[in-house]
């Protein structure tokens, strides 16, 4: 069964898009015992390679390890920090939150006084680190430093948990679990922890080019249709991982969708099918690298994405891990 303390460990390491060093180093250390080699590429993605039989097909898994956050771009005379958004920030959700820098320093992200909620935006918020003035602030923080809303993971009822950044440390954790549980590695398997997904699926593009896989499988958070006033969407928490069929940027290969369904049925894992109108994940970059590959994805049904209360059901996580493990154990042709 999924181990929540490992997930927590992965969530507590910081890694705002473009600044993934800390989370990359943690994953590298944790996954190293279960794979043959671990290395980083020029963009900063982390690749854990487990060799397959000679002549085996290449199977590439991708989970992005970056998280949404902020980058300091200006320090005011009063010692407040103006920030650029790194990724799809919901400023209503992020406002009045604690943020934390890599060196552990705290700040609070707040809107300018007298700003209406609907006008919260990168230009209208700032970070207050408690500095007395610009000089004082400059001793503590530099232009270009990144910060994110404070991480945390909390139990809700039953097997449900909430926190941040479940997007997408849950995917990183799941790949780590697959590598750890794997007994029979039939394919030449690459577990790739991609960088810069939140700012436009950038890292997966170059990793997929370099690896040149025959099969690709991304793992990321998805949405859920079981919240109040949700758009019609046939994915709910607790009914198993969602096998991606399409999203705004990819139509998954039928062979991969069918393979995932068959594995789930053989192992008696509950699953759902994800058909999204918009949005996208690393899957599209896996599919389109070089001459293309057969790509699909596992999505973890998630409520309240890109907030500090992203909510999932650990039963869905467990199912997703087992489906991906099944892919590793299937001789891909």
């Amino acid at each position: 069964m999924a181990e929540i303390e490992y997930l927590r460990k992965f969530m507590m390491a910081q890694g705002v898009s473009g600044d993934e060093g800390e989370i990359a180093d943690l994953i590298a250390k944790e996954i190293a015992p279960y794979v043959d080699e671990v290395y980083k590429d020029a963009m900063g993605s982390l690749i854990a390679h487990k060799k397959g039989r000679p002549g085996a097909k290449k199977l590439m898994f991708a989970a992005h390890m970056d998280e949404i956050g902020f980058m300091v771009n200006y320090i005011t005379d009063e010692g407040y920090l103006r920030v650029s958004k790194m990724g799809g920030i919901n400023f209503t959700a992020a406002s009045f939150s604690h943020v934390v820098f890599k060196n552990g320093m705290r700040g609070v992200l707040v809107p300018e006084a007298r700003t209406a909620v609907q006008n919260y935006s990168p230009e209208k918020v700032y970070v207050d680190i408690g500095a007395k003035n610009k000089k004082d602030a400059e001793k503590r923080v530099k232009i270009g430093d990144t910060c994110s809303v404070v991480s945390g993971l909390y139990h809700l009822a039953g097997s449900r948990v909430c926190g941040r950044p479940i997007d997408n440390r849950i995917g990183c954790y799941m790949l780590y679990e697959v590598a750890k549980r794997l007994e029979k590695c039939e394919n030449d398997t690459y577990f790739v922890f991609t960088c810069q997904e939140e700012v436009g699926v950038r890292g997966a593009k170059t990793s997929a080019y370099a690896i040149n896989p025959d099969y690709g499988c991304a793992v990321d958070i998805g949405g859920s249709g079981d919240v109040i006033n949700a758009a019609p969407f046939a994915v709910v928490l607790g009914e198993g991982p969602a096998i991606k069929v399409k999203d705004g940027m990819v139509i998954c290969h039928r062979d991969v969708v069918d393979l995932m369904k068959k594995i789930a049925e053989d192992k008696k894992i509950k699953y759902q099918l994800e058909i999204l109108e918009s949005g996208g994940t690393d899957t599209c970059m896996l599919q389109q690298a070089r001459g293309g590959c057969k790509a699909g994805a596992v999505s973890v049904p998630t409520r309240y994405g890109h907030s500090e209360v992203e909510t999932i059901d650990m039963k869905d996580v467990e199912g997703g891990i087992e489906i991906m493990k099944g892919m590793c154990e299937t001789v891909l042709a």
């Binding site: 473009g18 020029a42 963009m43 005011t76 103006r82 232009i143 950038r202 593009k205 990793s207």
Partner: protein, 339 residues
């Protein structure tokens, strides 16, 4: 004749070479490089100048786009007026009344409905681009057709000059970047400092989606890249301090991020350190400014470690882009030290 410094920048700025029609500036650049590097024009018109490695060091591509915003002729009407489609993002209010040039030597003015007959609403709003035409001084369609035909390309007219301690001209930020590359090629060729292979790419179509850079980086497959361009300097009235991207005279801009690129942190730190150690004036900018060529170069093939070094430029996308010669010198010095 080989030109240097401001004379080189002037010549480059004054050449009319819009996106898709870069031949004139490409030929000039090749002439200025001369025998200092092996040059070729690739299939999409990029000028690629290569200096072979003299040491076992990473292959580096240095990239600047050589095209400029412009327009393409879509119709010559019965009165000999030239109608066009503009591209590259010059706003219409920066065209009306300005001089332009078609085919490199046919001068025109951009004109529209006379102000005296504008209705109230038309007076207060910029004239839309499709209501602006180019007047080439032809009396009818036939005499216009002798000089200009559908499909011909044009740009703003050359207008380089000095303004106090600054200089101004059209396409100045990007063409000064090309000048920086040319002068870097000369200094590398003249120096015995060891380096890996260096590919200088003067790219096409930078104003319309960085297509030239996409091809250049794919073919060159560098391990490292330096993107050189003009970057917005909003150090002008009515812009709050915290929105000012860069400052004229503030030195070479080293970018942490742009609108679509997070530059390689280790290489950015190296550039900052290099500037400090060599006493080169620099400004570190973390702004989601324009989309530069970094977005495609960084993520070509298996990716490369990419940085952006820019020349602060006021009034971008106008006939009067303005730069500081001191910033240009700083950019040249910094690139020279980094390779």
């Amino acid at each position: 004749m080989k030109l240097h410094g401001l004379e080189l920048i002037r010549a480059l700025s004054d050449i009319s070479a819009p996106s898709g029609c870069e031949g004139r500036v490409a030929d000039f650049i090749i002439g200025q490089i001369g025998g200092d590097a092996k040059t070729q024009i690739d299939r999409v018109g990029n000028v690629i100048a290569t200096i072979p490695a003299t040491a076992d060091a990473p292959k580096t591509m240095i990239c600047a786009h050589m095209d400029e915003p412009g327009f393409i002729v879509k119709d010559v009407d019965g009165d000999g007026k030239v109608w066009f489609k503009s591209f590259g993002g010059v706003p219409s209010e920066r065209m009306s009344g300005r001089r332009g040039v078609i085919n490199g030597d046919v001068f025109c003015i951009f004109s529209a409905k006379p102000i005296h007959v504008l209705s109230g609403d038309e007076r207060t709003k910029p004239t839309p681009m499709d209501k602006i035409y180019a007047e080439i001084g032809a009396k009818d369609k036939d005499s216009a057709a002798a000089k200009v035909k559908v499909g011909d390309y044009g740009t703003l007219a050359p207008s380089f000059c000095g303004i106090g301690k600054y200089v101004k001209g059209k396409a100045l930020g990007s063409r000064a970047s090309c000048a920086a590359l040319i002068e870097t090629i000369r200094s590398v060729a003249a120096s015995d400092k060891k380096h890996g292979e260096i590919v200088f790419a003067f790219t096409t179509r930078g104003e319309v989606g960085n297509m030239g850079a996409e091809v250049a980086s794919f073919v060159a497959s560098p391990e490292r890249a330096i993107i050189v361009d003009g970057i917005q300097a909003y150090d002008t009235p009515d812009v709050p301090d915290e929105l000012k991207i860069s400052t004229l005279g503030g030195g070479a801009v080293i970018s942490g991020i742009d609108a679509k690129t997070i530059f390689a942190p280790a290489r950015v730190d190296e550039a900052v350190k290099c500037a400090e150690e060599n006493g080169i004036k620099y400004q570190y900018v973390v702004r989601q400014s324009q989309v530069g060529e970094g977005a495609v170069v960084q993520r070509s093939l298996g990716g490369c470690e990419c940085i952006g070094i820019s020349i602060p430029t006021r009034y971008k996308k106008s006939a009067s882009e303005m730069i500081s010669p001191a910033d240009y010198e700083a950019v040249c010095a910094l690139i020279g030290k980094l390779i």
